[in-house]
Symmetry: C2
Subunit: 341 residues, 2 copies
DNA sequence: TTGAAAGCGCTAACAG
DNA sequence: CTGTTAGCGCTTTCAA
């Protein structure tokens, strides 16, 4: 079936293509009788203008590229949902680019998004969470950002200056640690993620700092590294429970890990929170859906995503925006932690 | 910064745009010396061709639209992941269209995807899961599908004939029910989803059929309706536990609901599986990450998504494909169910 | 092996 | 209020 174009409509209505375009876009007054005739024909053919042609001309596509490492990790759908909610009103649609944590795919997507002329890019995870990011990879992002408005969500590329929207993770980790200490815990373990990632490094530093500040010792083996997954939380918790000296509380780098830790505890017949307190990070929906409900630090993922879009939108409009927007975490106390006093 | 075009490259290389296009696409032999000169200039400007212009001409965008009701429900990211894995090798990228279960948004996205000239559409959830779908809504999909290859995943539009890839849900529900009965359960409740949706209706029918076949009674109140969420599973389970005559097993329409049910049981101090068995449906990652690990029916979501893409891809290539592809469910026995014999 | 020219479908001046 | 004209950036004959 041949695609019907604005010319076909114009011919049948005995007007010029320009006039059809005018009624399509309401971009200039058109006599009511012509308008309705045109409308009728448009309807008859179920005509829809070709967005490619329009975008080619207008140099805007109404499309945003979202790069993320793993849509299967509940954190990202939540952020995406916030992005979507904020941006669909503005008329944007999204290329969802799942990199599976593969740096090469990140590069590919960066290129692809440029070719497809997206209006903006939202970058989450991957290289922007590496403590030591290869300068070439960083340069790639900078290069892209110099042509397409780009905002990094919850990440950074040291040595560059890109627009960012981040959650104050250090603060969140401080809050969690202090909360545990205030509840009387003196021996606390931290189930972390990947050591090379800032999402872990920042929290570990904050954790150690707060412990020290409270005159507590964070033994070397108090921090266990993993990969942010439920499986990793489970195995780390097993190790912890196997020790002769168990901590009374465990702080997890994210909720997924915490859920895994909870499972390990239950499996071992160790009661949470009676025998060990567990606190997570993120506040994904799952956190409040399990038993015991998880005490956690909210990343306010929808706000994170929504704010990212707002910043990006302003950049697209060439309005002024702060380079850095930081969102404050919130402690959400539920039932997986116990007050020892 | 003005966008650099193929002409700028051509001019600087002192060749025609056609030649540049040839080296870009390897579409005709080019003298090695010219080729390398052009390449060098392309590199210098970090030139990337404008995909809009190319797509306008070639009438293909390498883009697939994926319409789904809720990216926040773990089922969908899993399917998407399967789609992505299968399709990114083929060079497709995705518009992710989250409808939030809003029929109007579905319509909007259908239109938008057409305007953006996607090569194909994958439709999940929403109107294609309604037992009684408004003919106009169905017609909209048919109309779209007549112009753009479209496949429905896990759904149907009665009275139309569209390409579909579905999981045999009735079979899955039969397997789950029979499994419970074989384990000696005689009183079984079913926590369902929305009564108007086929994902619920099919399972309810299968559940009743198998009960009857085994000479068991499925009392009217044995089926509780809800909305597929963890919260709905929790509240339904609370109702069930409040009865003087408790069933010994509960079959849940999906894993999310089952997780909610588990929570309610734990909260009430009712042991799963000792006092009540719980079986889910889907096998999302969460199912095996909680304690007790959930017995469930696998929807093989990655296969579902991957197969959907394969079918779609063939349609795009105008190859022959079966209208209907059905995937068989698998029972995954874990620890949330108990054998009574 | 290369260039000229036409055109994908649309919009934006500029006239009238 | 409406038509004409000229592209947007690219690919593809057709000739040379």
């Amino acid at each position: 079936m041949k695609q019907v174009t604005i010319y076909d409509i114009a011919k049948e209505a005995k007007v010029s293509a320009a006039t059809v375009s005018r009624v399509l876009n309401n971009t200039a007054p058109v006599k009511e009788s012509t308008r309705s005739k045109i409308m009728q024909i448009i309807h008859k053919y179920q005509f829809q203008p070709n967005a490619l042609a329009r975008s080619l001309l207008k140099k805007e596509t109404g499309t945003i590229g979202v790069i993320m490492p793993d849509i299967t990790n509940p954190f990202f759908p939540e952020v995406f949902s916030g992005i979507d909610r904020a941006a669909s009103e503005m008329g944007y649609t999204f290329f969802l680019c799942d990199t599976l944590g593969d740096t090469r795919k990140e590069s590919q997507y960066l290129h692809m998004l440029r070719e497809k002329q997206v209006d903006g890019i939202l970058f989450l995870g991957g290289r922007i969470n590496l403590s030591k990011c290869d300068p070439e990879l960083a340069e790639e992002v900078v290069e892209t950002a110099s042509r397409i408005p780009t905002v990094l969500i919850n990440g950074n590329l040291p040595g560059t200056s890109l627009h960012r929207v981040i959650l104050n993770e250090a603060k969140g980790a401080e809050m969690a640690t202090q909360f545990l200490i205030d509840a009387g815990h003196r021996s606390i373990a931290f189930i972390a993620g990947n050591e090379e990632m800032t999402t872990t490094a920042q929290k570990v530093r904050a954790f150690r700092r707060v412990m020290k500040k409270n005159g507590l010792e964070a033994a070397k083996d108090s921090v266990l590294y993993g990969d942010y997954s439920m499986a990793s939380g489970e195995s780390s918790m097993e190790k912890i429970l196997a020790r002769r000296e168990r901590p009374t509380a465990v702080f997890c780098v994210n909720d997924l890990t915490a859920v895994g830790a909870l499972k390990a505890a239950m499996k071992a017949g160790v009661s949470v929170p009676d025998e060990v307190s567990v606190i997570g990070f993120d506040d994904i929906p799952l956190a409040s859906a399990i038993y015991p409900e998880l005490t956690t630090v909210s990343q306010r993922m929808d706000l994170l995503g929504g704010t990212g879009v707002q910043v990006l939108h302003k950049m697209i409009l060439k309005e002024k925006v702060k380079m850095l927007t930081v969102i404050e975490p919130e402690l959400v106390v539920r039932n997986s932690t116990r007050n020892l006093r």
